[in-house]
Amino acid sequence: MVRYFDLTHVMISVLFLTALSLGKTPDSWLGSLDLSIPFILLFFWALFEEDIGLPYVPFVLGFAQDALTGTPFGLWPAVFMIFYILCLGQVTVLRTVGTGTLWLSFILLSGVTYLGIMGLVAVMDDVDVSLSGMIWMVLTSWAAFPILAIPLRHYLSEEELGRF
């Protein structure tokens, strides 16, 4: 039975929105988190919470991110979705591995996505990107991963076990 709407969806949507908003807190150290946490959340959802209702959340919020920050319409939804698909492709391999391997996999997959963003921007005329800002974003997301990995993995694994 497919789940279109349940408590986990609501929780994940709120979590994703809160994560996006954390980086938008003005005059705060939280502002440096930028989009790091949403990438980590996407990674875990793809691996442990596969459900057709879920891709819509980052898709819609990606458009909100574009509208609010002034980036070209469609950039962040495309980035979120490509990263999500890349992660989905690794489900069978990564679902049973340890946190260290998950971290390395996240570094690899997000690294590929960030390189993809740079490539996408390079072919677009009206978009500039700060290389230092991008490197900072990559490093913060890699550094923040272990902090979020343990609670997320625990919660989502429990959810999976309870469902089947």
Binding site: K24, L35, L54, P55, F63, G70, F73, G74, V129
Partner: protein, 304 residues
């Protein structure tokens, strides 16, 4: 791989999560590649989405603000005492500065009355709270809580407590987006030092933007003050932008007086400087050749 899903508990497999994500990615990429970013329709859609999501983001940022508030609370008594001492010192300096400004203003008014000179325009401000920092590697912008209803218009200059902050690039009914001076797409016409060397200040995505289009023999030194020039007619002249931090021939940089992520409240200049007359009505211009409005180089203040 992703589990297949079924509608309504039936047996027919419809689509997997990867399929949904693939369709979504395709839609996003098509929109990204075919939609012109500056089309009015796109701007209207962006504005509508921003209007919907601004209060949601504001609400969702409450946990972040709470965490921030909690870290401030636990910052400790010693840190608060030190901050209090600094604030007292600054307050004393400001009192002295206010007295000096009052004297200067009085003297200025006296001199103006002697010359029978009217002020070209009186600057009016609209205060606003910074609602969200929207900066990313792609742009340096903030969302402020004042919009069309408060008289905010596109292109207006925005000041923070330390100096020039940016300018309005999108206006909603109750909020507006400010392009910071540090953004890669920010080009502000400025004057440098006492000799008023003209240049264009271009953002470099950090707190040290670059001075471009400077005359080759211009003498610029580290520490020179940088103000807005008013060229182009959108941003008034004389607003403090920053100080020259590097003065090599191939590397002219300005340290912004107002650092990027350090403003809680801003002031939006509601009235811009008077523009050139729409058309010449006198005969003087015809007799003297091409009309001049007395401005220097026309600065490029256009955004992305």
């Amino acid at each position: 791989m992703a589990r297949s899903s079924q509608f309504g508990g039936g047996q027919r497999t419809v689509i997997s999560a990867a399929g949904v994500a693939g369709i979504c990615a395709g839609i996003a990429l098509i929109l990204l590649l075919i939609l012109p970013g500056d089309a009015p329709a796109v701007r209207n859609v962006q504005r509508a989405v921003a209007v919907i999501f601004t209060p949601i983001i504001e609400l969702a940022s409450l946990p972040g603000r709470a965490i921030d508030g909690a870290s401030d609370y636990f910052a400790g008594r010693a840190a608060l005492q030190a901050e209090n001492a600094t604030l007292k010192q600054e307050n004393e300096k400001l009192r002295l500065a206010t007295q000096f400004i009052s004297q200067q203003k009085f003297e200025n008014e006296q001199l103006r009355s002697l010359l029978e000179m009217e002020l070209a325009s009186e600057l009016a401000f609209q205060g606003a709270e910074v609602l969200a920092d929207l900066s990313s590697p792609f742009s340096k912008t903030v969302l402020v809580g004042a919009g069309v209803k408060d008289g905010v218009e596109m292109g207006q200059a925005v000041l923070a407590s330390e100096g020039f902050y940016g300018r309005i690039i999108a206006v909603g009914s109750q909020s507006s987006r400010v392009l910071l001076a540090s953004d890669l797409n920010s080009h502000i016409p400025v004057v440098v030092g006492n000799t008023h060397i003209r240049a264009i200040l271009t953002g470099a995505s950090d707190d040290d933007p670059i001075l471009h289009y400077v005359m080759q023999d211009a003498e610029i030194a580290v520490g020179d003050v940088v103000y807005t020039s008013g060229d182009g007619g959108q941003i008034p002249s004389g607003l403090l932008v920053g100080y020259v931090s590097a003065a090599e021939a191939d590397n002219l940089r300005v340290s912004l007086a107002q650092r990027n992520n350090a403003a809680d409240f801003v002031r939006i200049l509601r009235k811009s400087v008077p523009l050139a007359p729409e058309r010449d009505v006198g005969s003087v211009a015809d007799e003297d050749g091409p009309s001049s409005d007395g401005r220097g180089v026309s600065g490029d203040q256009s955004g992305p």
